[in-house]
């Protein structure tokens, strides 16, 4: 009798996730029975995202959720569930043109991917992300991570005829599997040390492990290193530019936003629970990595001629800024989650800026391939004025220029860091932001000031893609001008306000 009650509770408190999951399965079923189903599966995917986002939002407002057993449905989880569902929704909208694009030898637009597989993989990735951070059992987290990673490997390789896509997939697969195996071994060593994998039980542990003090530290380091791979922090970033360049553009957008958000959400939960690392060393290491990542990410982006590679390095730099915010949440050696508001807000602003920028790149095609060289943009400011303007706004937001969302995100991060005494790191962050202006402004020069337009790229601005661009554009401006609602949301997520 007891069991039935628990299942009922799990069913109702996770309802938006089950709806999304059901949508993904229905998409696969439709693929089995209906031919030429591109539009059908695309809109089915959109509808399941829209319905579950509406559900999550309603529950968010009414606080209608309870943690059940190892599924931690609380305010923080629901905030991140909302974020990753939005990334999935927007990435799907971005990929509408891509699903029908692909150009054959006669310059005709043909279908190159299996749309049902693509749509359902995005949905399953999002579900995996949710389990990555909305659980306090490390094995459930790990299964969520694998669900996310396996889906992303397949998405990266989804343009099967393209050798670049294949190469990116295998590179991501090898590095990603290494990271997953390292994370798993760290989890296993934690189990070996304390005999439990529940984060809430691990948080209570005061005594040393029976196997000695080294084991839990090694375990924790392995888990952290694995996640640094996944969010591409600097000594572990070498795969990022190659994979981001080779992956289909909408998938790159999905990876830069969704994978990072989910991994950072999990890191917040992990660092918040596990204190027994218990010394200042971890904080110094994290601070060092944050500084290194900001410097190398921004310097690397300076020398790129390929827009996707440039945005890849820029996303490495952004991971550094986010880590800086997390370092600033430490009080002594204890992670204080209630200070994490700037990190949450930064992730929100970053989501819309980066998905907008990749949305613009997704609709441009150049000579049988994606237009992603800087020189492809020459003169496009005059032939495609609206698209170019919107692209510039997204780049300015990534740079952190005042009227856009990115400015407030960076401002709140740096002011937190200064308050907590990380003056040097904050100054380093600001200096690297100024350096980053050099490469964010280069596309703008090509768009407007590089002489006569050549042949303009073919643009496939379908209605859904346009909807995504307009939505991101409005959110970037809205968060930059009137952020109070969402700042309050971030506060509420941390339980500071109710």
């Amino acid at each position: 009798m007891m069991d039935v009650l628990i299942y009922k509770k799990i069913f109702f408190s996770g309802l938006p996730i089950w709806i999304l999951l059901a949508g993904g399965l229905i998409v696969l079923l439709v693929d089995a029975f209906i031919k030429n189903n591109r539009e059908i599966v695309f809109y089915l995917g959109l509808i399941s995202f829209a319905v579950s986002i509406a559900f999550v939002f309603k529950r968010w407002v009414t606080s209608d959720f309870v943690p059940v057993d190892f599924l931690t449905f609380d305010r923080l989880s629901y905030f991140f569930i909302l974020l990753v569902m939005l990334t999935g929704f927007l990435s799907l909208l971005n990929s509408h043109g891509y699903l029908k694009s692909g150009i054959n030898d006669d310059d005709e637009v043909i279908l190159t991917t299996m749309p049902a597989a693509f749509v359902s993989l995005i949905i399953f990735c999002v579900v995996g992300q949710i389990f990555l951070f909305a659980s306090d059992h490390l094995i459930v987290n790990f299964i969520g991570l694998e669900c996310l990673s396996l889906g992303t490997y397949a998405l990266v390789g989804s343009r099967r005829q393209d050798a670049r896509s294949n190469e990116a997939a295998i590179k991501y697969y090898v590095t990603g599997s290494l990271a997953s195996a390292v994370i798993l071994y760290g989890i296993v060593l934690l189990y070996a040390s304390y005999g439990t994998l529940r984060l809430d039980e691990l948080a209570q542990i005061k005594s040393a492990s029976s196997l000695g003090p080294v084991f839990p530290r090694v375990a924790m380091s392995l888990i952290l290193v694995g996640f640094f791979f996944k969010v591409s922090l600097v000594p572990f970033h070498f795969w990022t530019p190659d994979v981001y360049e080779g992956a289909p553009t909408p998938v790159t957008g999905f990876m830069t936003s969704a994978v990072k958000i989910a991994s950072f959400a999990f890191l917040i939960r992990l660092l918040n629970s596990i204190h027994f690392f218990g010394d200042q060393k971890l904080v110094s290491i994290l601070a060092f990595l944050a500084g290194l990542t900001m410097v190398i990410g921004n310097l690397g982006a300076l020398v790129q001629d390929n827009l996707k590679r440039m945005l890849a390095y820029s996303s490495i730099a952004h991971a550094g800024y986010i880590l800086l915010g997390m370092v600033a949440c430490y009080e002594g050696s204890v992670f204080n989650v209630s200070l994490a508001m700037p990190v949450l807000f930064y992730l929100l602003t970053y989501l819309f800026s980066v998905l907008g920028a990749f949305g613009v790149l997704s609709v441009m095609i150049w000579d049988k391939k994606e237009a992603c060289q800087l020189s492809d943009l020459t003169g496009m400011g005059y032939t495609r004025p609206v698209l170019s303007f919107v692209f510039c706004v997204f780049l300015f937001s990534l740079l952190g220029f005042p009227p856009t969302a990115g400015f407030l995100g960076k401002y709140s991060l740096f002011s937190l860091a200064i308050q907590k005494g990380y003056l040097g790191l904050a100054i380093l962050g600001m200096v690297t932001s100024v350096i980053s202006a050099a490469y964010y402004i280069r596309p703008l020069v090509y768009l407007y000031f590089k002489g006569e337009p050549g042949r303009a790229p073919i643009t496939l601005v379908t209605f859904p893609a346009m909807f995504a661009l307009v939505f991101c554009f409005l959110m970037v401006l809205y968060l930059g001008l009137i952020p109070t609602t969402y700042l309050k949301m971030a506060f509420v997520a941390l339980g500071i306000l109710s």
Binding site: V174, L178, Y191, V243
Partner: protein
């Protein structure tokens, strides 16, 4: 007398061999085997420790890990097949398109 420490030591050695192989070997299939070795090292430690603690959860988790390893291998082989079709090689030193 074989104690739990022996099992853990073996598991650490296997995991180290997996990492080493993944770093120095050039053949993709060998790299896959190294990844499997790392996951199975985790399984060994899990089962040994579960027996040591007298709990069931470690044994159950080992089955989850096996399922994950299987799906990872399936996806990896699929990627290798598509790569081989377009490139006719599975040596890692031949990946040259993407660099900068």
């Amino acid at each position: 007398m074989i104690t739990v420490q022996h099992f853990l030591a073996l598991s650490v050695i296997l995991f180290g061999l997996g990492v080493l192989g993944l770093v120095i070997r050039k053949n993709l299939l060998i790299i896959f085997m190294c990844i499997e070795l790392m996951l199975n090292a985790s399984n060994l430690a899990l089962v040994a420790m579960a027996r040591h603690f007298g709990k069931m959860d470690g044994h159950v988790i080992a089955f989850f890990v096996m399922a994950i390893a299987a799906s990872e291998a399936a996806l990896g082989l699929a990627i290798v097949v598509t790569l081989f079709r377009s490139r006719k090689t599975i040596r890692t030193s031949d990946w040259r398109i993407l660099r900068g």
